[in-house]
Symmetry: C2
Subunit: 376 residues, 2 copies
């Protein structure tokens, strides 16, 4: 053990602890700090011979090159963008849609040679320190509730920000899809198949846990823009064919898992066993709902129609009727937007298109007029 210059113990056997700095190296070489700096950052600014000497002495002294943090302070560039997620950081690696988004964002960062910092913004705690601590040149905010304190903290930071799946927040760029229109189209499809009596399973609408039915006020006041918009699309479509939306059972689940989808489906089916379609606001929930429906001996789509939203691979494999949204493109667009936020003067918005996927889980309800005329 030896003492470093701060008087702390340091272990010889571990990594050398930054013994040298650019200044000490300059002193050792008898040149100015500028010269050493140039040796690393502007090779053309000094003779090859001198540069060689600098680099060699650096190696000898164990100088690891300019300190990135000091450099960042000086240049006012961190070389990284921060990603703020609504969920626990680790959740992002469990949700296929989030993974796709991350992949796209990572692609954009990679192209720009920029790092991607996952900010540990635990939504349980109100502690936004992590946002304040993040040394980044900008933020991407992925699907957080509009009243999230972390989001507020990000918006206070003097760096460009791109929000994803958010309503217009004023001064920031955003990228997303038209959730309301997409869900409206899906609803129209079901309506044209003959469905009028339906049930809905949705993701969490706010930061508080409500694993239960949703009253209309809660639907409209939902803090998750995406969920609010999708429900609005449904409500609008069904209301336009005379369905009283207030009577439609909408079950909310806080956790975004197949198990949640299953339990919500059960809850809806118990409230109204007569429904002919179960509309879920995500594929994960829909896959869980399908499992539950089948567990009850109902056949999909003969006895009941089940639909999802997102278009994840698992849904495709299951033949789910759903809306596909370009999650990877969303991530990439967010990254691109952020990374060339150079000269713009006013916020931009990118809206990506979606596609209605006609799977095998939607069919006309049993006992439609058609069936009654022509037989089941």
């Amino acid at each position: 053990m030896v003492l470093n210059r701060y008087g702390h113990f340091m272990a010889r056997s571990m990594h050398v602890r930054r013994p040298a700095t650019l200044a000490s190296l300059a002193a050792e070489l008898g040149v100015s700090r500028t010269t050493v700096s140039n040796a690393y950052n502007r090779p053309d600014q000094l003779s090859p011979e001198l540069r060689r000497r600098v680099l060699e002495t650096a190696r000898r002294l164990g100088y690891p090159g300019p300190d990135p943090v000091a450099r960042s302070l000086r240049t006012r560039k961190a070389g990284a963008v921060g990603l703020l997620l609504t969920e626990n950081l680790s959740y992002a690696f469990r949700d296929p849609a989030a993974i796709g988004f991350l992949e796209g964002l990572a692609l954009a960062c990679e192209d720009a040679g920029t790092g991607l910092l996952l900010v540990p913004a635990n939504p349980e705690r109100e502690d936004v320190a992590a946002v304040h601590r993040a040394g980044v040149d900008g933020f991407v905010v992925y699907s957080v509730p509009d009243d999230d304190p972390h989001l507020a903290a990000v918006l206070e930071r003097p760096v460009p920000t791109v929000v994803c799946d958010q309503p217009d927040l004023g001064n920031v760029d955003r990228v997303g899809i038209d959730d309301q229109a997409a869900m409206h189209a899906l609803a129209q499809h079901l309506i044209s198949l003959g469905h009028r009596r339906v049930g809905v399973v949705c993701m969490r609408l706010a930061r508080d846990r409500n694993d239960d039915f949703v009253v209309p006020e809660r639907q409209q006041a939902a803090h998750f823009h995406v969920q609010r918009a999708r429900l609005a699309g449904l409500a609008q479509a069904f209301a336009s064919v005379g369905v009283d939306w207030e009577t439609v059972p909408v079950a909310e689940r806080f956790d975004h898992t197949m198990a949640s989808g299953a339990s919500a489906a059960a809850q809806v089916l118990e409230r109204d066993p007569q429904i002919t379609a179960l509309i879920c606001t995500s594929d994960i929930l829909a896959l869980g709902a399908m499992a539950e429906v089948q567990r009850r001996g109902l056949r999909v789509p003969v006895d009941i129609t089940v639909t999802g939203f997102d278009g994840i691979r698992e849904a495709e494999q299951a033949g789910l009727t759903t809306v596909r949204q370009p999650v990877l493109e969303k991530g990439r667009a967010a990254g691109k937007l952020l990374l060339d936020s150079a000269e713009r003067t006013r916020p931009r918005a990118v809206t990506l298109s979606t596609e209605l996927i006609h799977g095998t889980t939607a069919a006309p309800p049993r006992g439609t007029a058609e069936e009654r005329w022509f037989g089941p």
Copy 2:
């Protein structure tokens, strides 16, 4: 448009551009910088009343709180760990095993309130600048070849490092599994089933692309520790029952995809149609191999045995006989190791255990003695 103090144009309509600093705020208030700093970092060090005044003035001046980079420089803490991957950053989000690792690592970071910086270390370029630029308190290195220049650059940085799936690198912590023993156990299983004539499909062994058979020297010189160890486990097991390993076809693929697994399987089967088992060094490759085998009209496991490695969910669903390794635990262990690398003085190594999964894709070869006695 207005001019900021650097004389650059800035857009009024976009985010405010750091007009205030801690110092300017202090000046405005007529207090010292320490006091302002304390208002943010040590609330107990000043009167509530003064603190309130400070914070309020901050809001009024649009001061976003202490600059994270400057703080990092001063405190010598970045509040983030860097992750170095062998692949394109985005690849990490496509490989289930890598995703599991990331999830575990993210969990550990979250627990510690630390950020996770994905370093854009494109393996194509030799450019290690991204490693130099990363403002982090430590690195986790996930499965890179032992001659990767990025790895070398990381090891030169004066911060603690944890390597994953690497041989002993000297002064750094590491976490991994016993790939050789695990593969040896799988091989023993196949041997006990009666397999003697086998083919192998493996992932890339070095940084150069070799989508072809592997000569023994290349196997032993493989720069990817994991692949080298797995092949060694196989070679050892089969050699011990008299199989001449040099005659065993081993097909290597650079890209880690199902398509690669399929094409490698085809290559092996063409070289030696008599093999009774196709051993793959990853589940992804094995799933591709199964597809190819079935495409050729061979039944698994009746006509041919196929095995994988990793134990990803998709493999489980396919009933693959494989080795399950705790990828999430690996990530978490790496994070933990790094984050409490406080007082240790010599490198630690964590070896996690694996489990042989007896799926439905391995069976005795057709025409074993047993079958000849009792009928197929």
